[in-house]
Each structure stands twice: as C-alpha cells, then as structure tokens.
C-alpha cells in the first residue's frame, strides 16, 4: 500500500501532466462538436465585454470607412429593389398569402471581434439570444455569405466564419445548375476551394457560386464568390477550382443573421427521415 502512495508521489508531476492533457483534449473535442452555449469562448460575458469595449474604442477610428461601406451597401440594395420592382411589378395587397408570408427575417448585428488569419476563424457579434439569435443560423454580409452561428449568450454570439476548416457550404454554379461544395483550405483569407464539380461539366473563369436549395442554413441564392481559376488533372474526376470570396472578411463591421421561420419544420422532417433509414 505504502509503495503505491510512494509511486504516486514520485510521479505526481507526470501524472498531473497526463491528467491535464487528457482534460484539454476532452475539452477540444466537446467544444468542436457542441453547439449551443459554451462558457470558455468569446460569447462568454467576460471575454465578450472585454472585446466589445476594445471594439468601441477602435471603431471610432474606423467610422469613416464603415460609413462608406454602409452607403455603398444602401446604394446596391436600392438599385436591386428598383430592378426587382420593374421585374415583378408593384406588390399588390391581393397577392397570394404564400407570397406574403416571410420565411426569412434578418437580425442586424455589429461585429465585435473578427479574425481572418487564424487556422479557424470566428466572428463575435454584439447581439445574442435576446435579439433572437440561435445556434446554426446563417450569417451574411452586404456582399455575400459570412458564416454560421455556433454559440450564443444573452448579449453575444460567436459565428464560425467561412474561413474555417470544418465549414462546407452546399452551393451551385449560378445559371448552370451544377451542384458543388465550397470550403476553405486554410491558406488565403480571400480565396476558397470548390469541390465535387465533375469533369464533364463546362465551367469558366468568373462563374458565380451561390448557395443551393440543399442548404438548411442559408436561403438559396446567397452569393459566395466567383471562380478565379480552375484546373483539370488528367487522372482526376473533379475539377480543382479556386474561388474568390465575394465577402471581404477583413472589412466586416455589420452583418445580418438569418432567421428561418421554417427551419424547425425542415429539420424535424429530415431527422425523421434519417431515423427511418436506420
């Protein structure tokens, strides 16, 4: 018995080291697989408040640039509204109730913290569950797709940026109806990769990628980026495509969180199907 205690005492540093390493790895695994509320991240009120205060101070010096971006965004939206009005005609009160129903609503949130140069990038937003943000909601910016909500607290939320190793977005090439998946390869914050475009399709530089209907997080048709370059290896079945993101991740100040009124319905249907398959 005494020998056992002596053993533990002698190797106490090593045993503590092993124990804490196991604890750290357990935390990494649970953190990466867990959606919802988490304490040890930037949506915690401690870290969130520090970053928000810092952002308040720094953002004073960026007001001019932020204004410019917002004006440009307004301009773009206004032109879009005029164009759509011309195409659709003036909205009528007698329109079908199905058209009146708004499936998507948008929650505006200020970006408190953003990174583009880490291996896995997150945004911290200055709005949380009190504003109606929930995990797994889509996040877009003025120019296109930004990311997906991971965790929320009452006043803050963290968003997995498109610049993240585990992020893959169901998408399609606009106008050609070619399904694809967009990912980020960890190298350049302005470029992504497009997967699963098989060799019999014809694609061109400048083709636009948007989110597809297979997406539960984003509405269909959200802009992701344009094809910068592509390459077809002689033995490979798929194109190797590089994509220019339409969103400039280094200059995000405000984003829109998408609330999908029909998400719960779709999710429950899909889970039911999955369960049936088993």
């Amino acid at each position: 018995m005494y020998k056992i205690f002596e053993f533990f005492y002698r190797f106490r540093a090593f045993l503590l080291f092993i124990f804490l390493e196991i604890l750290a790895f357990w935390m990494i695994v649970t953190y990466n697989s867990y959606q919802g509320t988490a304490f040890f991240n930037t949506s915690s009120s401690f870290a969130g408040k520090i970053l928000a205060t810092e952002n308040d101070i720094v953002s004073y010096f960026q007001l001019k640039q932020v204004n410019k971006i917002l004006v440009a965004e307004n301009n773009h939206l206004l032109s879009l509204v005029t164009k759509l009005n011309k195409e659709v005609g003036e909205p009528k009160d007698t329109a079908s109730p199905f058209l009146k129903e708004n499936q998507y609503t948008f929650i505006t949130a200020k970006v408190v913290k953003n990174s583009t140069d880490l291996p896995e990038n997150y945004l911290t937003l200055g709005e949380g569950s009190l504003a109606g943000i929930k995990p797994d909601m889509g996040v877009i910016g003025a120019k296109g797709l930004v990311g997906r909500v991971k965790t929320v607290s009452p006043h803050f939320s963290t968003v997995i940026s498109m610049l993240y190793s585990g992020m893959n977005v169901a998408s399609k090439i606009k106008g050609k109806n070619i399904d694809a998946t967009v990912i980020w390869d960890g190298h350049n914050p302005s470029e992504g990769k497009v997967l699963h475009v098989v060799r019999h399709h014809t694609i061109a530089k400048g083709d636009t990628l948007v989110t597809s209907e297979y997406n539960a997080v984003y509405p269909a048709g959200v802009m992701i980026g344009t094809i910068k370059d592509f390459y077809l290896g002689s033995g490979s079945a798929d194109y190797d495509i590089t994509l220019n993101f339409s969103t400039d991740f280094t200059a995000l100040s405000y984003v829109y969180v998408i609330s999908n009124a029909k998400k719960a319905e779709r999710d429950s249907l899909e889970t039911a199907l999955k369960n049936q398959d088993r």
């Binding site: 540093a13 750290a24 040890f40 915690s44 140069d117 896995e120 190793s165």
Partner: protein, 174 residues
C-alpha cells in the same frame, strides 16, 4: 524578494503579457496569418527557477485556458502550454551552464545571458507552437501548412519575447 512580493510581481507579469496578447496579437499577424505571435508564453518562461513542477503545470494549464477563451479554441492552447510547463524543468537541466545555476536565479537575458535565454526560449516556443498548430490545423490535413506556420510563428514569437526581455528586466548590476 518576499513570497507575497514575488506573487504580486508575477501576477503583474501575467496581466501584462495577457493584455498584450489579447489587445494586440489577437488582431495582428504577419504574411496573412503565416506568422502568429503568442507572446503570452513568455510568462511561463520567466516563472521562478525554483517553482514546484506541480504549480508550474497548473499555471500553464490555466494560462492556456485563459487564452483559449479569446481565441475560441476550446482547449488547444491549454494542451500546448501544459506540455511546455511539464518539459520546462528538463530543458533547464539540459541547458545547465558550467558551474550550475545560482540559488534563486532569474530566468532572463539579464542574468543568464543572451545565448542561454535565446536557446531556452526557442526550444520551448518551438515545442509549444508545433503542438498548437498540429491540433489547430488538424482539419486541413496539410503537413506543409503546419510546418510553415510553426516555423514562421516561432521566429515571430521569439523576437517579441526577446524584445520584452530588454524592456522589462534591467541589465545586471555589477
């Protein structure tokens, strides 16, 4: 230095290095993220020579966890800091200068010289960064990316750590 005095001093070092890490280097990198700086581990490097291994590992774990909170990394920094906190005594032993260490020696450029400190720092910084990027970049499955980020970031961190050596510690009084 009294025990309380020592705790206060190192408490202030902790706040200083964490503030620099979170207010500056959380938002700043070189070459589009190839070189990141994790200057906060300087705090683990300069902890007293005679600190017990147990306290060192525990301090390593909690400072890593503190940084994880701001980087949204779950426990990746903690895993790396626990590793270097565990290895630190062995590295210090290996690097024993001729004649051994003086009692209660300060682990700094000022008291042990530039060459000793730079060697000591680069070994631990490299181990820390290698461990960190292996786990952090696991999802990409890209060995070259791990190596390039580890090497570039180690150099970046080393330069900043050495810079702080000259800013904080006054030169040896003869």
């Amino acid at each position: 230095m009294t025990k309380t005095g020592q705790i206060t001093t190192y408490g202030l070092y902790f706040c200083l290095f964490m503030a620099i890490q979170i207010l500056i280097f959380l938002h700043f990198s070189l070459f589009q993220g190839t070189a990141l700086c994790f200057v906060y581990i300087a705090f683990l490097l300069i902890l007293p020579y005679d600190i017990s291994n147990i306290s060192l590992i525990l301090i390593g774990f909690f400072s890593g966890l503190f940084v994880d909170m701001f980087y949204n990394t779950g426990g990746i920094h903690a895993a790396a800091t626990v590793l270097i906190a565990f290895l630190r005594p062995y590295i210090i032993n290996t690097l024993t200068p001729r004649g051994g260490y003086e009692e209660g020696v300060e682990l700094s450029v000022a008291s042990l010289g530039f060459r000793w400190f730079a060697t000591y720092a680069i070994i631990l910084i490299f181990i820390h960064h290698f461990m960190l990027f292996i786990i952090w970049l696991l999802g990409f499955g890209d060995v070259l990316l791990v190596l390039s980020k580890t090497i570039a970031s180690s150099v970046f961190t080393l330069v900043i750590v050495l810079l702080f050596q000259y800013l904080i510690f006054s030169p040896k009084k003869v």
